[in-house]
């Protein structure tokens, strides 16, 4: 028996004990585990036909919301990011206020406020309320990324551009932004992952995303822990897949270090 094998045995025993405690916790709590009922929430076979379960339907909505928000987030991020480096005092103040207000208040309150207070005025649906509220929140972060990207470009670039007689606007759009975009591409795409996670909060305004479908399933079956664990794992899996794809893509595009 070498030292390594003893440690290995100890490790196995420890894992075993951990599993035992988890098992004890799971059984002694009086909670009746029913993992075997989980699959029907994803796919069901009905008379030989495949039917999308509620979780997959919810996942589609989650994707739709995240994707639309991602586009809008980028629009907001670039607009206000550029605002924050302009000469105009008003534009800079607007950018500053936007970022600080949306970064320093809870997203759940922003979503509720938008849906119950602002949406009725313009007759915006629950789905679009969710998209807009999420975009405004994530856009504040995107704005900071864009601003940092612009500010990371060497001062010499600005000076060279001005000495060639370009205006500030032209300098930004032809000289600075093309260089900054390359730098901010990766952090901006990471926002997509944040959006997928944060979109779980739209369930508070009765939008049927994955989280809402999970809550509905729980209220019907009371399989609380099985469903939450499954849904959390689904989010995890999807985000890991997206991250891996982003890494490969960014490597191909040579967006710089990850």
């Amino acid at each position: 028996m070498g030292r390594k094998s003893i440690e290995l045995i100890l490790f196995i025993v420890l894992i075993f004990l951990l599993a035992f405690f988890l098992y004890k916790g799971a059984t002694s709590s009086g909670y009746n585990w029913q993992w075997f009922r989980i699959d029907e929430f994803f796919l069901k076979f009905d008379k030989g036909k495949l039917i999308l379960g509620p979780f997959l339907k919810g996942l589609l909505i989650t994707f739709q919301i995240s994707f639309l928000s991602f586009i809008l987030t980028n629009v907001l991020g670039f607009t206000f990011g550029i605002f924050r480096v302009l000469n105009s005092f008003v534009a800079r103040l607007l950018g500053y206020l936007y970022v600080e207000i949306f970064r320093n208040t809870p997203l759940i309150i922003q979503i509720l406020f938008f849906y119950f207070v602002i949406a009725p005025v313009f007759n915006i649906s629950g789905f679009w309320s969710a998209v807009i509220a999420l975009s405004l929140f994530e856009g504040a972060y995107a704005c900071e990324i864009v601003r940092a990207g612009i500010e990371s470009i060497d001062k010499g670039q600005w000076e060279a551009s001005f000495s060639l007689g370009l205006s500030k606007g032209n300098t930004i759009s032809y000289i600075i932004l093309p260089q900054a975009i390359k730098k901010v591409m990766l952090p901006l795409t990471n926002i997509f992952v944040s959006l997928i996670k944060d979109s779980a909060l739209v369930s508070v305004i009765a939008v049927y995303d994955l989280t809402m479908e999970a809550q509905k399933a729980i209220s019907e079956t009371f399989m609380t822990f099985e469903i939450w664990l499954t849904v959390a794992f689904t989010y995890f899996l999807i985000n890991v897949i997206i991250l891996i794809m982003l890494r490969l893509f960014s490597y191909k595009m040579r967006w710089g270090d990850v």
Partner: protein, 265 residues
Amino acid sequence: MNFLKKFFLILLLFSFAANLSASEGTLDKILKRGVLKVGMSTFVPWAMYDKKGRLVGFEIDVAKRLAKDMGVKVQFVPTKWSGIIPALLTGKFDIIIGGMSITPQRALKVNFSIPYDYSGMSIVANKTKAKGFNSLKYFNKKGVIIAVRIGTTAEVAAKKYMPNATIKLFDDESQAIQELLLGRAHAVVASAPMPAFQAIKHSDRLFLPIKDTFTKEPIGFAIRKGDSDFLNFLNSWITYVKAEGFLKERKHYWFYTRDWEKLIK
């Protein structure tokens, strides 16, 4: 290595100790602790906060009386309704006293006492959106939106009686009512008397399509499975206070008079 061996031995002892600790009933635990922990959620007029931030309501009176008869103090644990059963199962409190309807689905997870009260679902609708809807069949149509609180029997009733309507789920009743007031839902289904209260409060925008409740639901205490002694005590207690007239008197005060409103406003 020596340290690891010791550590391992201690762990082993612990795991045996965990197994050996005698399991005592909830009743003994409560008496030893001197506190009855009650899981509840706010539903008007079962449980609500008064002006001073204290809990009042029908269920609050029931819980206080139960604790008094056990000779212990009462501690309320306000919990989101949608998560109240798992919170009970994982031991966050001893009992749910919150106007919980006895249903087969719930009874698969928890043990219910005999009913100590009966409630029913009623429906309140938006005057402009649901114009002329004077029976449930009008609401059972595609395109009709019903807002309810998630995890309640209102959700079950809405699905059962209005399967063709779209059900929108919210975490609490005030949000569902807000949705109705904004005209984004045709109706809200909830336990009586809340819909009637709302129809009076917003008589300009809301109305009651049907005057009475359309379901009858037994209300019971919910406790964890596998504790027949505690369940037996609860059943005996309910039988006792029922005979005494306490439940009837409290029910009348909270549901058929509005004397308590001055506590709230």
